[in-house]
């Protein structure tokens, strides 16, 4: 079986995804968890570009457009997520996930 560049790209993205996953699971600092989630999102974007570049031909630019939307949504997610982190910090004076385990502030 031959390995194409696509394989390499996919391995790259799955490794990145797992690093993000481990980070998000292992750390209890909310900011780091958010950053881990961002990395996982980025890994998904990598796949879109890889398939757009090497995959079977589709409608022009589908992968690229998907990534552009994903980046826009990720930016919104980061903004809201970090605003939440700041809000949580103001209530609990901590950004450890364990400390923010109540629904009421």
């Amino acid at each position: 079986m031959t390995y194409s560049p696509l394989h390499l790209c996919l391995l790259f993205s799955s490794a990145l995804f797992c690093i993000g996953l481990i980070g998000a699971l292992a750390r209890s600092n909310t900011i780091l968890v958010l950053l881990g989630v961002e990395l996982m999102l980025n890994a998904a974007n990598l796949n879109f570009i890889a398939f757009w570049r090497y995959g079977p031909p589709t409608a022009p630019g589908t992968g690229v457009i998907f990534v552009i939307f994903a980046i826009a949504v990720a930016a919104a997610e980061a903004a809201v997520g970090l605003a939440l982190v700041i809000a949580v910090y103001r209530h609990h004076r901590s950004i450890r996930l364990q400390d923010a385990n109540q629904l009421k502030g």
Partner: protein
């Protein structure tokens, strides 16, 4: 292939180190390097627009928000380091992550993806991209616009609304 290996290596290394460090600022900066690496991958793959958008959004904007969040949530003046979390948690995370990695790697390696069609390097000029966005994807574009606006307003409300709340509550807690 060599550039790809280089980019992948640097990206993965910075990402891994970033998530393992104690110093939050170093983490954030290394992660920014990692995002830049991903942008380099896009550039290498020929998706110029996406690469620059990635830099603009992640290195330019998200990083700033992250750094702001780190600075605003410091527990004491100079200390931004985070205690290493419980080893059990780390081991569990490593096991889960390792398992997912194994599954993914196995799936990727065992799947016959086939060689890319020779000379069929897709390219997408900015103009075509714009036409695509405004044509078939116009609805999605509008929705993203609304989403971004809502997110912006929401972030402002969450971050700012709490502040006055906190200021009002403060005197009660003190004699």
């Amino acid at each position: 292939m060599i550039p790809l290996l280089l980019i992948a290596g640097l990206t993965l290394a910075t990402a891994a180190v970033a998530l393992a460090l104690r110093n939050l600022i170093h983490s954030a900066l290394l992660l920014i390097a990692s995002w830049a690496g991903i942008a380099a991958f896009y550039l290498w793959a020929g998706a110029e627009f996406v690469a620059f958008a990635q830099v603009l959004v992640y290195v330019g904007a998200v990083s700033m928000v992250v750094l702001f969040a780190v600075l605003l949530t410091r527990r004491s003046r100079d200390d931004i380091s985070v205690a290493i979390d419980s080893p059990a948690r780390g081991i569990a995370a490593l096991l889960t992550g390792g398992a997912v990695l194994g599954v993914l790697f196995g799936a990727v390696i065992s799947s016959p993806l086939g060689a890319p069609a020779a000379g069929a390097r897709p390219s997408l000029s900015v103009k075509e991209l714009g036409l695509q966005l405004m044509g078939p994807h116009a609805a999605a574009l509008l929705i993203v616009g609304v989403l971004l606006t809502v997110a912006l307003l929401g972030a402002v409300v969450i971050a700012a609304g709490d502040r006055t709340d906190a200021a009002e509550r403060k005197p009660e807690g003190n004699p």
